[in-house]
């Protein structure tokens, strides 16, 4: 039997939903704090019409995508510069490996102090977290550009910059996009966490804080979390679709050879 991927995905989602429903309905976990899955889902659907909530989602998305876009531009540019100068790359390597593992959450206090508005400090943290996966992928991708392809253009008299634009960048693009996809999930985690911790009451994180305070409305809280999950899923879906359509050539050669 063969299932298409979306069909299998749907089966998995329904299964997980059923399990969550079962666990809460049978009283395996306290119903007061963890409402049944169907209640949460219904709440999440109804929140579509809640303009106040949608504004908050909009704020999160804006910060998230701005940070991601800035990180992509910066990481690709930095990647190009570092790969063009091997000595610079070696010099930067240690710095990158040192900065990369610092959790963005640890930088929240610094960001809050440094930037005047919450949106700015959140964006800067998304930028920080999203830069590394994109930079690392860009560096590896540029290192693996086929030297024969570069030599070909060189032999036809193309200079360094045209080769960079016509061979290196296109050849690295699929890997860069994979980096952006990873960075998108990381970035979403960072925005929502920052919103939660910074306590400005903005964005999905702010909404979660409000619904938790004063005894709490667990169904609202979980429904907010579901929305964060949906955003992540959407982003992954969009990137995967772009990868499939724009980079059909990528891996096609190996497929044919295998």
């Amino acid at each position: 039997m063969r299932f298409t991927r979306p069909a299998l995905g749907a089966v998995g989602a329904v299964g997980a939903f059923g399990l969550a429903e079962l666990v809460t309905r049978t009283g395996l976990v306290d119903n007061e704090y963890v409402p049944p899955a169907s209640t949460v889902l219904w709440r999440a659907v109804r929140m579509c019409g809640d303009t106040e909530f949608l504004t908050q989602v909009g704020g999160t998305v804006r910060v998230w995508l701005t940070g991601l876009a800035l990180a992509t531009a910066a990481a690709v540019a930095l990647g190009l510069v570092l790969s063009a100068a091997p000595w610079l790359n070696r010099a930067a390597r240690l710095v990158v490996e040192l900065l990369r593992p610092i959790p963005s959450i640890a930088l929240i206090p610094l960001a809050v102090l440094t930037f005047s508005t919450a949106a700015k400090s959140e964006t800067s943290l998304v930028f920080y977290a999203a830069t590394w996966p994109i930079l690392i992928n860009t560096l590896y991708a540029l290192r693996d550009v086929d030297p024969v392809a570069k030599d070909t253009l060189r032999a036809f008299g193309f200079g360094t910059v045209p080769i960079l634009l016509r061979v290196s960048l296109p050849s690295a693009a699929p890997f860069v996009l994979t980096g952006v996809r990873i960075a998108a999930s990381v970035g979403l985690v960072v925005v929502v966490s920052t919103e939660l911790v910074a306590g400005t009451g903005e964005g999905i994180g702010g909404f979660l804080m409000q619904s938790q305070s004063g005894g709490g409305q667990p169904d609202y809280m979980l429904a907010g979390a579901v929305w964060a999950g949906v955003l992540g899923l959407l982003a992954t879906g969009v990137f995967a679709a772009v990868e499939r359509r724009a980079f059909r050539w990528h891996g096609a050669g190996t497929e044919a050879e295998a």
Partner: protein, 275 residues
């Protein structure tokens, strides 16, 4: 005129070419033959200015090559890796023509024409990875020909095509060579081919790498697949080249490994030869 003087190149401490000298007058087609690993591709890369040799000089029309010379086209041995997979076949062929100026439509027309000349009419809109190896090889040849170079370097350009197409491509190169008078260095493993297309055959040897012999090919032009190959001069030349290539180390079997009796527990001979 291409003048190669005392060219020496080594990778690490492995010297591939040693004091190699070769002069190629304008418009000559030189075939280069020699055993695998003797440095044929290395020689072409030095001439193309893609690697700077450890020693010696390459001078093209009076100017030393230091970087890639103008009007050069190369058909690489790794033809499939030299095609850009994100461009269509036509755009691959048209890309170098940007260096020549001209409108997009003109470049595309020239690309289609070159593709037709190698028997790939109508394949322009496909992608390289949708083509067979032999077709990809012809795309690489079409790209070089469309560029109308004054110096053309071809590294085993017909290795992956069938016998009939190979003969057609040999004749195509001869025709382009006659019509446009470009200088061509063509590396091949096929001894008959080296004599058939060449004005001269250069035999390279190994350890140390260098020129073992140069033979003038004084066969009447234009050449013909049937009558030229039956010409007694052709047969004499190809025999001579064949002997020289063998002498240059084509069949070097490590004599000790071959002479030593194999114990039963040891791997078979084919396996040990590799190591």
């Amino acid at each position: 005129m291409l003048e190669i003087t005392d060219l020496t190149h080594s990778y690490g401490d492995h010297t591939v070419l040693e004091k190699t000298s070769l002069t190629v007058p304008d418009g000559e087609l030189v075939s280069i033959v020699g055993p695998s690993g003797c440095g044929k591709s290395t020689l072409l890369r030095c001439v193309a200015g893609l690697i700077s040799p450890v020693g010696g000089r390459v001078v093209l029309d009076g100017t030393p090559i230091d970087g890639v010379p103008d009007g050069l086209a190369v058909v690489f041995q790794d033809y499939s890796r030299s095609l850009l997979p994100w461009l269509t076949v036509r755009d691959n062929v048209a890309l170098p023509l940007r260096r020549r100026g001209g409108s997009k439509a003109e470049r595309r027309a020239a690309a289609e024409e070159a593709l037709s000349s190698v028997g790939l009419h109508g394949a322009g809109r496909r992608y390289p990875w949708q083509l067979s190896g032999g077709m990809q090889q012809r795309v690489a040849i079409a790209r070089a020909l469309a560029y109308r170079p004054s110096l053309l370097l071809m590294d085993e350009p017909f290795g992956s095509v069938d016998a009939q197409t190979r003969e057609d491509l040999e004749d195509l190169v001869l025709k382009v060579h006659r019509d446009e008078g470009m200088t061509i260095l063509l590396v091949t493993h096929d001894i008959d081919e080296s004599v058939y297309v060449g004005d001269r055959v250069v035999v390279l040897g190994r350890d140390p790498g260098g020129i073992r012999a140069e033979l003038e090919v004084k066969l009447p032009s234009p050449r013909d697949q049937i009558s030229t190959r039956a010409d007694p001069d052709f047969v004499r030349l190809r025999t001579e080249v064949s002997r020289l290539v063998r002498g240059a180390g084509a069949l070097e079997v490590p004599s000790e490994a071959a002479a030593e009796p194999q114990k039963e527990s040891e791997p078979r001979e084919e396996d040990t030869e590799e190591t």
